[in-house]
Each structure stands twice: as structure tokens, then as C-alpha cells.
Assembly symmetry: C2
């Protein structure tokens, strides 16, 4: 699974700290998500998608045949 967080964030000229604040997690969490260190929880994924005005499926990309 990959995600478009960094991409969407840059598009809108938002810093990691701003996004972290807006979705109520630490900056470390945003960094870890962007760098693919781990996956967001369902609730966090929802808050991020909502923040960008998109659906979860538009922000988080699930590859075919993914475990």
C-alpha cells in the first residue's frame, strides 16, 4: 500500500506540522506514513482523507493482490 499524502500536502503547500495538527497526530506519525514506515489506522486514514476532501481510496492506493 502506498499513499499520496506527501504529494497532496505539497500541492496545497501545507507543512507536515500543519497536517499533523489538523488530523491530531504528531509530526512523526506523518513522516512515518509518508515514508511508508507503516500504515495509517482506519480512523486516521479517514481523517486525512476528509482533510483533503477526498475518499480514503483516493488518498491510499491499494495495489492488486496485496496481502
Amino acid at each position: 500500500m502506498t499513499n499520496r499524502i506527501a504529494e497532496l500536502r505539497k500541492e496545497r503547500k501545507i507543512s507536515q506540522a500543519e497536517l499533523a495538527d489538523a488530523v491530531d497526530v504528531t509530526r512523526q506519525t506523518i513522516i512515518s506514513l509518508e515514508s511508508g514506515r507503516y500504515n495509517a489506522s482506519l480512523l486516521l486514514a479517514h481523517r486525512i482523507a476528509k482533510y483533503f476532501g477526498l475518499t480514503i481510496e483516493e488518498v491510499f492506493l491499494f495495489e492488486e493482490g496485496e496481502v
Copy 2:
């Protein structure tokens, strides 16, 4: 957050064991999700939604102002 797993499963006359198998988790996991003991991970949510032919947002219901 609530979900429509039990509802969708009954609609389609699928047992917990069948669903568990299809999305590659144990039956305990399905029971726990249905009874709200905890939330699915993003990947599992995606597999379940896909199994039902729906989006994550259609299966998992996020209430307003949810943490």
C-alpha cells in the same frame, strides 16, 4: 466508528468463517470487528470492502466529530 459487516454478511448469507477465509483473517477477528471490540486496519478494511464490492466508506461508518 461502526461498521455494516454483520449486516452485509447476513444479506448475502455468508458465515463468519467464510468471510474470515475470504479476507484472510481468523474468525475471531471478524467476530471482534462485528461486535465493535476494535477497528479494522486499513488493509483489512480495504479487503472487506472489496469483498463486498463496496468502498471503505460504504462499509465503515464514521460519525461526525469522531476522534
